[in-house]
């Protein structure tokens, strides 16, 4: 491949001004042409490795949990079940995702902006704070001093060190986000990119802004709770705790969404040379995530006392669900960026040639397409429906809720992060991918596994099965209850899905670890196994629809959404009256 990204974009690296650091801190990538700050590269590597370790911890616990809830095996005892639910939640939703996001933020603010890292030393302080947080929290969970679930709703109380661990991790993450802004500032001042931030960096910036808001919210609730666990504060009101905790808990999912969607655009660029067909639209959608960040948090209080229906309806929608709208916009903009580029490459036949002739053999591409489908069809539809005031009654705290976020955060975010890693291995770790044959299958396996897991959980939840519950036969209780016999089928399906997904993660971790530590070195573009596409040629004419195939796909999505919508409301209408 002769054209590097830099040449393709016809953008010469700006002259380094006198303020800039000495040249030897950089290497120029022989594949992409980007100037890479070596100190930034090291930080990206460290954070990515920590992320993979956290993921391994999380999925190991997940497998044990699946085989506990699968009643014929019922593996763990009650104590260890709840302990590992807490452990799994923290490692999957916090450590894995945030470590990877920090790596992403550093990448987005230095490598693709051709700029240097603002303060590598502080970057290492942040990293070690986060590691300390990880170790302390996990230790106190595993010795049984923090069986409080990820949400740690008061008045359940954990050991003070558990809260301290979470706080240390969060402080580290805040420092990392501040460094991201420092990098942006340097890039701006030294004019290392054009007039506007690249879309990917813009998306990461959105994620960083949201991260600051949510981490600050986290501090507001975790610090008093820490003091309360030390006995210095008398009482933490449980309703206040839940309200503020979700300002962290769900808003932080918007960090994931913003980071994930940024990567979707990045992969469109890398694999087919595509970009958003209208950048203004995509950027506006990113801004909507920031402006409507609180909507999703309020969803957690829909069936709670303390706040009125007017509060609930208004604060989960501000009358128009604009955060949902943002995702719907990306739902069109991301596939259409692929479609438009593919059509310009000449795959113009019919509605879907652009899709059938897409680079399916590229694991990053298939990961992203599958992530888009899973995020939209499983996570998105259920998220909107469960997030409405009344329909929440039939799913609140049931296993359908984790089912929903397996769709968003596992198929969506995790699969996306796994997919982009296939590019990070050669570009950042400078190693060839070992086991490309496996890599081609891994995203499909993961998608099938989590889709089975997630859909089964959603159905089980609709049948009333509670989440975070050790024994759905209620052994030892004064009464018992037999769920609809259909649950047995879905438990089996969930167990199968979980096992398949676990296998897929093991394959992925195997590929990553072998490649990074033992893989042959990448010495130039000829060692690049995944294609980096040149920019798609400009369009010839602009008549009619730019992405008719995408439009059809989004209409199919709409129909699925409406079907699920009416199904849920019909179900709700059949329950007891309540007011």
């Amino acid at each position: 491949m002769s054209n590097t990204i830099q040449e393709a974009g016809d953008l010469q690296p700006a002259a380094v001004t006198a303020v800039a650091a000495p040249e030897q801190i950089f290497r120029t990538c022989d594949i992409t042409g980007f100037k890479v700050d070596l100190r930034s590269e090291k930080l990206i590597r460290a954070n990515a490795v920590a992320a993979v370790v956290s993921l391994l911890l999380a999925v190991t616990a997940a497998l044990l949990l699946v085989f506990t809830r699968y009643q014929p095996v019922h593996l763990l005892n009650a104590e260890w079940y709840y302990r590992l639910v807490t452990f799994h939640g923290l490692n999957a939703l916090i450590f894995w995702i945030i470590f990877f996001e920090v790596a992403g933020l550093y990448f987005g603010s230095t490598v693709i902006l051709n700029t240097r890292f603002s303060s590598p030393k502080t970057g290492w302080v942040a990293f070690w704070l986060m590691i300390a947080g990880l170790v302390i929290s996990n230790y106190y969970i595993l010795i049984g001093k923090a069986d409080v679930m990820l949400t740690s709703y008061t008045p359940l109380k954990a050991h003070p060190m558990y809260y301290l661990g979470v706080i240390l991790f969060a402080v580290g993450a805040i420092i990392a986000v501040v460094l991201f802004f420092g990098n942006l500032m340097i890039a701006r001042r030294e004019r290392t990119y054009g007039d506007s931030l690249p879309l990917v960096a813009y998306g990461f910036m959105t994620a960083a802004i949201i991260a600051l808001i949510t981490l600050a919210t986290g501090a507001i609730i975790y610090i008093p709770t820490f003091l309360w666990s030390l006995g210095l504060v008398d009482n933490i009101d449980p309703a206040m705790y839940k309200l503020i905790w979700w300002g962290l808990g769900h808003s932080s999912q918007q960090i994931n969404v913003a980071a994930m969607v940024s990567i979707w655009y990045m992969v469109s660029f890398l694999t087919v040379g595509g970009t958003s067909i209208n950048e203004k639209v995509s950027r506006t959608a990113f801004v909507l995530y920031i402006l409507f960040i609180c909507l999703a948090s309020a969803h957690h209080l829909l069936t709670d006392p303390g706040v009125s229906s007017a509060w609930k309806v208004w604060n989960t929608s501000y009358a128009m669900y604009l955060a949902v709208l943002a995702s719907m916009i990306h739902a069109f903009a991301v596939p259409s960026s692929f479609e438009s580029a593919q059509r310009r490459w000449g795959y113009n036949k019919g509605l879907f040639e652009w899709l059938s002739k897409a680079p399916w053999g590229n694991p990053a591409f298939s990961s992203i397409i599958l992530a888009v489908i899973g995020f939209g069809f499983i996570g998105g539809t259920t998220g909107v429906i469960f997030g409405m005031e009344q329909t929440n009654i039939i799913v609140h705290n049931t296993i359908a809720i984790p089912g929903h976020f397996k769709g968003t955060v596992v198929i969506g975010t995790t699969l996306t992060f796994m997919g982009i890693t296939y590019y990070l291995i050669p570009l950042i770790f400078r190693r060839k991918i070992v086991g490309m044959g496996w890599a081609k299958w891994q995203p499909w396996l993961f998608f099938i596994g989590i889709a089975l897991l997630s859909i089964s959980m959603i159905v089980l939840g609709q049948l009333g099965v509670p989440r975070r519950h050790w024994d759905s036969t209620f052994s030892g209780g004064p009464f018992t209850y037999n769920f609809n016999p259909a649950v047995d089928f879905f438990w089996t399906l969930m167990m199968l899905g979980g096992s398949i997904a676990f296998l897929s993660v093991c394959i992925w971790i195997g590929i990553v670890v072998t490649s990074v530590f033992f893989g042959p070195r990448v010495n130039g573009p000829e060692d690049m196994q995944l294609k980096i596409s040149p920019l798609a040629p400009p369009a010839k004419s602009h008549k009619g629809f730019e992405a008719p195939g995408t439009l059809v796909l989004t209409f199919i999505f709409l129909l699925v959404f409406l079907a699920l919508f009416f199904l849920n409301w019909k179900w709700l209408a059949a329950t007891w009256y309540v007011k």
């Binding site: 709840y82 009101d237 655009y265």
Partner: protein, 307 residues
Amino acid sequence: MSLLSPAEGWYYKKVSKDEKMWMLIALVLCIMLFVWMVMWHVYGKQNPSSTTYKTNTIEFAQLTEAYIKKNMIGVDNGIPVVRPEPNSDVFLMAEMWRWSPVLVLEVNQAYKMHISSKDVVHGLSIQPVNMNFQVYPTYDYLLEFKPTETGEYKVVCNEFCGIGHHTMIGKIVVIEKEEDLKLYGYENMKKAPVAAVAKDDSAPMSDADKAILGEQVYTLKGCGACHKTDGTVLIGPSWKGLYGKEERVKEGGKVFNVLVDDAYIRESILEPTKKVTVGFENLVMPQVPMNDEELDYLIAFIKSLKD
């Protein structure tokens, strides 16, 4: 060009026809979702209530206890059964780890349910109708339920509330006519004066009378959620034959034997974490507020549970 700065003039590029169309549809859908929720408050029959009272755990526990004492018609598996009047206020308390009382409701009648927790956060989940609400301590959530179908319903807890979470299951029975009570073995339950033993201040009560009152305390305070009286060991030791026995207990790391007598039982209830029976170290007993009289009755009840 998502990795590069956007092309010149990106800000003024026209939005394509299909993207515009999709955004418009999406926006209309989003607004519809909002309107739908509002309209359901007008035409729909399932809406979470907006009424909450601030309370505290002790007050709510007392209210529930008094309510149960007044309206109890019997006991089902150690949990008091109450048959409230339609349109009346009903108390339903969540605690580690039971729902109290069991309710007998009439179909198509409304009941104003006061729901709160005595300790941690719980989740009210009525099955199989699958209706779910959050239950907090210190907040009394007033939900007016109108059951639309007869049958036996279970109340599952679906918010993690400690190690015994999975044993927390209550019951609601919805009947249409009196005969339906037979289906649940409730046909002989009648509202009776709670104190079966008339209290006479002049003469001291007999141990048997005290034990009867003690059993009521056992039921009302929810001891049965953990302590059975038939020898089965669940979350806590069984009380059958407990009195007069030697128990191995742990206090401050030391393990020794102790005789189960009045003083020991009294101490164990008032300071549950002081001496912990060996084998139950990880299952911390909650504080159960009790006055001297109730303690007295309860001890008499434990005494009466011979092997």
